[in-house]
């Protein structure tokens, strides 16, 4: 009897709470003007590269009010695919009246998730973000061509990831944000190529030193618009 009663209160409580949620939308944008990914597809004088695949994981999203943690997103990992506009908007639900000054998230998948066996939804290995011959998620994947790349058809492939010491590639991004219901985050792809000598480094496909070095640059790609 007491159990039924407390279950009842619990379910009624959650119904009430659900009505009072605050919803924040986190939008990833690939161009400063927010119009989409035109320069991703065509090489021009200003952009010496084209991209045909660009995916990464955003995980463990947390909101802070100054230094106080005010919300941790329930969904552990989102797969962002720059060529799939739906995946660029992440919906974060939190209790009504939550207010924040900072957002923090990981680029990639943490080590606990990496050793947890088969997972579903965005973490399903059919998404192509899991290495097959060696266990582990690919945190950040980008493929395309670059004029200065000496490989066949100027092709480059970067599959960055790794969770095991000393090749832990997980990165944390921390940004100051306005307390608004929409947060727009720009991805500065040029910055990625600024940090690579594409003449010598154009294929990184497994967790190694280079994977970690390149991953260390990733937080610089994200900026609040």
């Amino acid at each position: 009897m007491r159990l039924t009663l407390s279950l009842l209160i619990l379910s009624l409580g959650s119904v009430l709470l659900a009505q009072q949620n605050r919803v924040c939308t986190l939008n990833f944008k690939t161009n400063d003007d927010g119009t989409g990914s035109t320069h991703m597809k065509k090489r021009s004088a200003e952009t010496p590269y084209t991209i045909h695949t660009f995916q990464f994981y955003v995980s463990n999203i947390q909101l802070f009010n100054e230094s106080e943690l005010v919300h941790t997103c329930e969904k552990t990992a989102f797969l962002v695919d720059v060529f799939d506009s739906e995946s660029l908007s992440l919906i974060i639900e939190m209790p009504y009246r939550t207010s924040y000054t900072h957002i923090k998230f990981n680029i990639g998948v943490d080590s606990v998730t990496n050793v947890s066996g088969a997972l579903g939804n965005d973490l399903d290995p059919t998404k192509g973000m899991y290495w097959t011959w060696q266990s582990g998620y690919i945190n950040f994947k980008i493929e395309g061509s670059h004029v200065n790349c000496p490989s066949r058809n100027n092709q480059f492939q970067f599959h960055l990831g790794g969770y095991r010491h000393p090749f832990n590639a997980l990165q944390t991004v921390q940004l100051s944000v306005k307390n608004s219901d929409v947060i727009n985050i720009g991805i500065l792809l040029d910055a990625f190529f600024d940090h690579i000598d594409i003449r010598s480094t154009h294929h990184v496909m497994s967790p190694t030193n280079i994977s970690v070095q390149l991953s260390n640059q990733l937080p610089k790609l994200f900026t609040v618009l």
């Binding site: 290995p125 059919t126 011959w133």
Partner: protein, 342 residues
């Protein structure tokens, strides 16, 4: 009114929770250690095990529909492969390693000879995607399965969802493999007090405990850690084992320690299948120094076996063959599912 419907809702959901409760518990012999596999994340059920068994034997998992898991892991060889030293796969390509036996997987955390795989669930991705093995991709396998008449109902029965996902496919394959438990050899019967060892078997057992148990620890007959057993590297294959994954020099030439259960069925031996016979293995160990782990260090251990020792040791190793496991019908090709349909 609202209260009443809430109560009804709650009781319905409790009823269904009970209805779908996953019901299968693996039998763990009392002298076995705790499971390593986390069953909470993938609770066993009859439906999922049966589905995993069908998938294990179905060549639909390979690109041209000719190779199944069982092509390289035969039930009659304790799920090892015995025709070749190096396993054969898609397009008759030859792999670089010998297919290991599959049993007692619920007690293991690392898979493959170099430990490249960190969880049983994720293991199947390797052979499915390997161009020389099944030459497929998991997303295409999911697509193919979804378009059969056979599989969507089986997935529905197992996971209450007829939309097939990579997660469900991998979890079902794990479930079948987790049921492959070898615990009914003569050694096991001795452990349970059902029979007694002969004098020669006891001598062999003592030699085993002295020389082999630090790596091939009973009752699983492996610690399932990595070790160097003094095999010289093959100059053509140049397989350095564990260090190819960790990129650490200390891990050079370390390989996953295989269990010594069912050796009668799992020849050829070692990661590259270089020995066809057990007496070649014992000749290798006859006068050798191996590196074993003690705490964080690897310490050398010398092994010396006289010719009588080798005979006694062989006699003991014979007690680790588990005929009941190898002949278990529940582990074999599921005729009722795979022959009736397709």
């Amino acid at each position: 009114m609202k209260l009443k419907s809430t109560i009804i809702l709650i009781s319905i959901s409790i009823y269904f929770m009970g209805f779908f409760t996953d019901d299968v518990k693996l039998h763990r012999p009392v002298y076995f250690p705790d499971f390593k596999y986390d069953f909470n994340k993938n609770p066993l059920s009859e439906g999922k095990i049966a589905l995993g068994r069908a998938l294990f034997y179905d060549p639909i998992l390979s690109r041209d529909g000719t190779i199944s898991c069982a092509s390289c892991h035969s039930p009659f060889n304790a799920f090892a492969h015995t025709d070749h030293d190096l396993s054969h796969g898609f397009n008759d390509s030859i792999g670089t390693r010998n297919a290991p036996a599959l049993f007692n997987l619920a007690w293991q955390n690392h898979f493959m000879w170099d430990g490249a795989i960190n969880h049983l669930d994720m293991q199947a991705l390797a052979p499915i995607s390997h161009p020389g093995e099944m030459g497929e991709s998991i997303s295409n396998v999911v697509y193919k399965l979804q378009h059969t008449t056979l599989y969507p109902p089986l997935f529905y029965e197992a996971f209450c969802d007829s939309v097939i996902t990579g997660e469900f496919l991998l979890k079902a394959l794990s479930q079948f493999q987790l049921t492959l438990i070898s615990a009914n050899s003569k050694y096991d019967k001795m452990k349970r007090g059902e029979i007694e060892f002969s004098e020669q078997e006891i001598k062999g057992y003592n030699l085993f405990k002295q020389n082999c148990n630090s790596c091939h620890a009973e009752p699983l007959f492996s610690t399932y850690d990595f070790a160097f057993n003094n095999l010289p590297v093959d100059p053509v294959l140049r397989d350095f084992g564990r260090s190819m994954i960790t990129h650490q020099a200390v891990d050079s030439l370390l390989f996953k320690i295989p269990s010594l259960r069912n050796l009668q069925y799992t020849y050829p031996y070692m990661h590259d299948g270089r020995f066809d016979h057990l007496n070649q293995v014992l000749a290798h160990y006859e006068n050798t120094v191996v590196l074993q782990k003690a705490g964080d260090k690897r310490i050398p251990k010398s092994i010396h076996l006289s010719s009588i020792d080798k005979i006694d040791l062989s006699t003991f190793l014979l007690t680790l063959n588990d005929d009941d496991f190898v002949l278990n019908k529940k582990h074999q090709f599921p005729r009722d599912i795979l022959l009736s349909n397709n």
